[in-house]
């Protein structure tokens, strides 16, 4: 089908406390988002349920499916709380992503992406989101503090990348390669400093 949707794949990367959530909220507020699916491992701290009215919080994939089906083409806001057991969460994330793709026309937020992917492997559902999500009208936001463990398929799908402080050398290396900039630039980031790249135009901006 024709790609008639202005879908965005946004990566927001950096250590805890570097402003990832602030950056995410800025993007989320940029337009109306009547349909959201949020994968939130640290919900007690992040409190994504407070972002949108009438959000349903659940740990059941079947319930997510039920809500999405009942909504049809209408509104829904769901926050999913994973178990933090990687094997179980990868299975749940797989179906969670397939539901998002099948529903279409929604905003998907995936927190702590490295907890359900590795650099070379990701659940089938997530892979499908990466190469078919744009056609299904998905806006996808992936957040992680360990980009070295985030799958390359997502990094390759990005339309926009925001990178904050990264203390660990393997993460700096991974991001420097994706952004095509010097690793020292990533290493120099502190506090709320960040480097952003529009992956479609190649334009880099620095918030220093």
């Amino acid at each position: 089908m024709a790609n008639t949707h202005d879908a965005h794949f946004v990566g927001i990367i950096g250590v805890t406390g570097c402003g990832k959530t602030f950056e995410l909220k800025k993007h989320l507020k940029a337009k109306k988002r009547p349909r959201t699916l949020i994968w939130s491992p640290k919900e007690r701290f992040d409190n994504y349920a407070a972002l949108f009215p009438d959000t349903v919080t659940t740990s059941s994939v079947s319930e997510v499916l039920k809500i999405v089906k009942a909504a049809g083409k209408g509104k829904f806001h769901v926050v999913f709380l994973p178990t933090l057991n990687q094997r179980k969460d990868m299975a749940a994330f797989d179906v969670f992503c397939k539901v998002a793709l099948a529903a279409g026309n929604l905003t998907m937020v995936c927190e702590e992406l490295h907890s359900v992917t590795t650099a070379s492997n990701a659940p089938d559902g997530w892979r499908k989101v990466n190469f078919m999500g744009r056609a299904s009208g998905l806006d996808v936001f992936g957040l992680s503090q360990r980009p070295a463990s985030v799958d390359k398929a997502f990094m390759g799908s990005l339309s926009f990348l925001h990178v904050g402080m990264l203390p660990h050398p393997p993460d700096r290396k991974a991001i420097a390669e994706v952004m095509d900039i010097d690793r020292a630039e990533i290493a120099a980031l502190t506090g709320y400093q960040a480097i952003q790249k529009d992956m479609r135009t190649g334009k880099i901006s620095r918030k220093l």
Partner: protein, 164 residues
Amino acid sequence: MSNEPNELDALAGEAQQVDLLIAPVAVETSGSPGEPGTPQVDPAIEAVELAAILQAISSLFVPVFPSLATIYTPDVCNALATATIPVMQKHGWSVPGIMADWAEEIALATVALPLGFATWQAVKADVAKAEKAVKASPEKAVTGETAEVKPEHQLTEPVCQPRG
């Protein structure tokens, strides 16, 4: 095409299987039966949260002590957190409890520590500059003059030259 009921219906079986696989997050309550208790949090969840806190705290000190980045790796923080949670539970402490009790102090530390370090660096640099100046021209430093060394010709020439 997305949003097709058939596509969503086809996922019902997978969703049920996953729900059977994933254990629900424990929300048992402490205290005697019939009494209101405090929700018990899954130790695995607490360990992840504590590891994130440890990483955040270690990151604060990385600008001062860069070697910490190689010591407090995510794996080390995870191991430390996993070992710490049982001890915390033994003493009745919890990560959310600490965050609730010390949230303001932690927020202050995240701002004050980098600021304190920057101040220390700046003062250290100023002191070093002053000491260097004293060494370069000790007698002027004693009389309170600036230790900036001027070229010989500037010292002997008048400040203002009459014109014409």
